[in-house]
Symmetry: C2
Subunit: 657 residues, 2 copies
């Protein structure tokens, strides 16, 4: 794995970035004055504003642009719903306890960690180069530097590698056997571990005063959306395809969260459930609009071959070649790509990785993750899964609610089939109280058997049937009681359960990865960090700096400008501290504020102001209205700084460091 880099290609020093992000309050550990709770973070003002801007962009890019039906479902979810969806049973990790120390390990991570560390020790002993995967490193209690150089038998190396390749595939019992067989112990103390037990990752609570309604905090927004399917279809006047969308917090009671904002117990998600008719290859009407979008793909086959070499191709080619399963899935993959670019992520640090068969959810037909490269490695930030008809089907089966589409066929469907007629007048007297049972057994016969029986009837003048629940368990029916004929039936309506294409965005992961992508530091001043958010995404748009701190002549101008920008909907902050202009700008470089206005004594005379660009530190000067217009067009993304620089006179004094 390559070392991660800043926006300008320098090595990224994560502790330095991290301390800057905390100092500027992009985020802060929650409840820190109480010692904190791992996996819980608060966003401070810039983080909160950044998050709001990402969400607003998401709403415009998806909900508004695609006319999606946004819903707001509750987080509290009753047990029954998550039992049906499979989460009560399957949304769990296996954990092992060390009975001596009380430490708890996630079993698959532990096996992975220990075997990998042994393989590394083996490589070292064989004098081979050891690569360090920083992502896994961060999760690990025992660091790679503690690895013992110990050569393994070739056969053992092979066994370990095979186990690691399918590590997501083992259940608790199998993990337990691996732990025993390979003598895996507490990496710190060497102590023996108890066998793995399932730990459900949902936060449980009880709803109402009588404690008998168990509930959970939702692990995804999807289930709430599925349950509104029927009403949304009505709302959409029965028109398919359509999509619902939901933005809200979801929860995951991680066994041992580390890796900062990337693995948290409470996180903001934005999920889309796009309902599509499974017939006709899941085409998408707007696929042509994105067919030429070029993507970096890492497909399943390449991964299975043990490689991580990516391929660049258009989504049009990917769908045509079958690499991506359908147009609809491909359409959303391309739209996700465009969304991430709009936020300012680095296209060189973005790829779409296909899930391998053993890591896909049990219901999924195909799944691609948008991954962003960070100092923790490649991070899954958006999942784009074809959930097939799984969820709607299980909820319908459980509740009887018609979570499907019923539509009039353009042309009635003619179906040739074997139909059975019973002569009811003779049937009753013949079979007496067994009549109903026999009748039901006949109704349940499938087409193949009906065809065979029709031949029997013709040949023998009767048929013989096994009918459990009758006295002898068998009945014979004569041809005067029954007729079996091939006929044509006409179906005017069609019922089908739509398939679901689900793009699911982890907003917190995108937010963190974005901060790494736009981070750099000025040449020759490595301690001066800059966050180059695109203006529409930046937390605050404009910094207002009176040249001379709180000078009474400048104060009213600053106040007026600030109010004017506010009225234009442009967030701004005033820094009238006594620090030098350079210091004040550098503070705001760290906050990622793209523009700065300097108010000086010339401003008092002629109402002209200096506008500074964060990235180039270049400045232009003009009158108040022109400056405000320039700001607005930059914020709305209509102009770039290069445009503004061409139009307005440059200003070269006064950048005093």
């Amino acid at each position: 794995m390559a070392t991660s880099t800043t926006k300008t290609g320098q090595p990224l020093d994560r502790p330095v970035l991290d301390s800057m992000l905390r100092r500027r309050m992009f985020y802060t550990p929650a409840f820190e004055v109480y010692g904190g709770v791992s996996g819980l973070y608060d966003y401070g003002p810039p983080g909160c504003s950044l998050q709001a801007n990402i969400i607003e962009t998401w709403r415009k890019h998806f909900v508004l642009e695609e006319d999606m039906l946004e819903v707001d479902c509750t987080m509290l979810t009753p047990h029954e719903v998550l039992k049906t969806s499979g989460h009560v049973e399957k949304f769990a990790d296996w954990m092992c306890k060390d009975p001596k120390t009380g430490e708890i390990f996630r079993a698959d991570h532990l096996v992975e960690e220990v075997l990998e560390s042994r393989l590394k020790g083996d490589k070292e002993a064989r004098g081979q180069k050891v690569e360090i995967d920083e992502e896994k490193e961060a999760k690990r209690k025992k660091k790679a530097k503690d690895i013992k150089a110990l050569k393994l038998d070739d056969s053992v190396v092979k066994e370990y590698e095979e186990i690691l390749a399918k590590i997501d595939n083992y259940d608790g019992g199998e993990l337990g056997l691996l732990i025993t067989k390979y003598n895996i112990t507490n990496p710190t103390t060497g102590g023996n571990l108890e066998p793995p037990v399932a730990f459900n990752l949902m936060f449980q609570t009880s709803i109402g005063p009588s404690s008998n309604l168990a509930g959970y905090l939702r692990p995804e927004t999807a289930q709430g959306q599925f349950l509104t399917f029927q009403k949304l279809l009505d709302f959409n006047q029965q028109s398919m395809p359509f999509a619902s969308a939901c933005i809200g917090k979801s929860f995951r009671n991680e066994i041992s969260p580390r890796a900062g904002l990337l693995r948290v117990r409470e996180f903001l998600m934005a999920e889309i459930e796009h309902y599509v008719d499974p017939e006709g290859g899941k085409k998408h009407p707007r696929f042509d609009e994105v067919a030429d979008v070029k993507l970096v793909l890492l497909d399943r086959k390449v991964q299975l071959s043990g490689s991580t070499n990516t391929t660049e191709m258009t989504i049009g080619e990917a769908v045509k070649s079958g690499t991506v399963d359908s147009e609809t899935l491909g359409y959303f993959i391309a739209r996700i790509h465009l969304f991430l670019l709009r936020l300012g992520t680095d296209p060189k640090k973005m790829r779409f990785r296909q899930h391998m068969a053993n890591e896909m959810a049990h219901y999924a037909a195909d799944c691609w993750d948008a991954e962003l490269l960070t100092s923790y490695g490649w991070i899954e930030c958006v999942g784009c899964a074809d959930r097939s008809a799984y969820d709607l089907t299980v909820h319908t089966r459980k509740t009887g609610a018609p979570l499907f589409v019923r539509e009039t066929r353009n042309e009635p469907l003619k179906i040739e089939e074997w139909q059975v007629d019973i002569d009811k007048k003779k049937f009753g007297p013949r079979f007496k109280k067994e009549g109903k049972t026999v009748e039901a057994a006949i109704e349940a016969l499938d087409q193949e058997i009906r065809e065979k029986l029709s031949l029997d009837l013709e040949k023998n003048g009767k048929i013989e049937l096994e009918v459990p629940g009758t006295e002898t368990g068998k009945v014979a029916i004569d041809k005067d009681l029954i007729k079996i004929e091939k006929r044509t039936r006409t179906e005017h309506t069609r019922e089908y359960t739509p398939n679901v294409i689900e793009p699911a965005f982890g907003i917190g992961r995108i937010l963190y990865s974005l901060m790494e992508h736009v981070y750099w530091s000025r040449e020759g001043a490595e301690e001066r960090g800059v966050l180059s958010f695109p203006p529409p995404i930046a937390p605050t748009k404009v910094l207002l700096v009176p040249l001379s701190g709180g000078h009474p002549d400048l104060k009213p101008l600053v106040k007026r400008l600030s109010q004017k920008l506010r009225r234009l909907g442009i967030s701004n902050r005033v820094d009238d501290s006594g620090a030098s202009i350079g210091k004040r700008y550098s503070r705001n470089d760290e906050l990622g504020t793209p523009l700065g206005i300097t108010v000086d004594f010339q401003s008092v005379h002629d109402n002209s102001y200096t506008l500074r660009d964060r990235d180039s530190t270049k400045q232009v000067r003009s009158d108040e209205d022109t400056i405000c217009r320039a700001i607005q067009s930059l914020i709305e993304g209509q102009k770039t700084w290069a445009d503004v620089q061409k139009e307005l006179p440059e200003f070269t004094q006064q950048e005093l460091d």
Copy 2:
């Protein structure tokens, strides 16, 4: 209580409105296909969009306009935090169980309900008019119509009335005594009830795999905000006053929620914590801007006198007269008023009610609720409390974190005080191992005692002190060991814990009340409901209707218009169903869509369109660009329909019902 009315003053039929709101999917009971969970609702597309517009308006009106520091804190909150804040102990209701039926009653509501019902029975027996309080009626299991006309003794009536006046004041034991004394039973079955037990209203869960970190879903966003105080003060460069703000879900495990969207278990809040220096009367620098805002007030004194007569006065007068405690509290009350008006609530159905002493939270210095009149009665939608220094103080005391302000005094403070000097050289030999204890006892003496002792010293040449922990419990100290003098000390910094003014908005309650306020129906067509949201608040801004359903000549125009509006950030929906124009418009009146564009065959020829106003059903016609500009200025609130009607030619054909 007056019967509630529609926007146009007609009686409001809640079941009719409610069925419309559900049909149009403003909201829907959550998990309905699973039978639902009381107190949990989902918002469908129009409700969700309405909520987003309310939030956006809130952000502009408060966060942006007042330069507040928005934070996003977690909902999961560890036990310790809520223990310190008092929620673990006090955020509870008392409940009684009927052991036979298993029914659970909220004790105070039950006592209130039964005594009120008896008082009504008494009135009926005395031939007096019985007023029905619809809000309480809705909560009640036994309806008023079941009341028995039974005359009570005058003394009993007086007792009941006194109990009801202070019903919020009883604890569980007292409620239990009332239940026994007045023979209060299950209103439906008459069965005896178990004594009241406290039921904490927080949802509990456990964080992490080892089950030893108890946590709750937060009951308010406030605590998370308080814990970030110190970091926010740093972020704000130590400048006071400032405010933090947080928008997010909070939770309350109601014993038995009814009353629809007004009493739910999971709700969106928007809370502001404004930190102010308690010295100098809690002035607000921008109070002048709102001093003339007229408000309808219902103060504490009036309520205690048993009346609900409101007074109209400016907030300037209210603060001056001491009705409202401080400028800062008054400033926010006025700003809340302006915010609610901006959303479109009816000023005639809005009042500010002051909390009475016995209903205020234990920490509050003063509290006013913005109440909106609905068919459930007056509903608390915004609370505006002065929480004093309570929260910051208890968290500081518990954790030692400096949740206070330390500032350099403009002028050093000179303090005259009695200081004690000890001659340490002689003190040690004299008191030996008791020296430290005696010294500490002297240090702890307050000013008054020091003054008295200085006189003793002068008069008797020694002082006598009781010092617990010494051998005799008493010591005498001669004047050669000790000196007590009045001197002046100079203090250069000042430390203080800010007071908190907290405007807390229940977004769901505002949303529901607003829907009642803007609801009306067309004269002569009572079944045709209209929701007259102001254009900036309305869920969808524009309906696009091709005159003739899906006619191929009109389709491309509709598509182009829709995309154009979308690019301008204006949400719109197309209705190209086969229904009549009138039917399609009436569907969208119910959705509260303020504007409609009709695309007809004339549009194909000259690119002109008809623009329809929801409220007046008047139409104007012009070319595409003019129509789009008109829409934009209406949506942004720069123009009214009356302005547009003056500027553009009226169109009178084609409103076909």
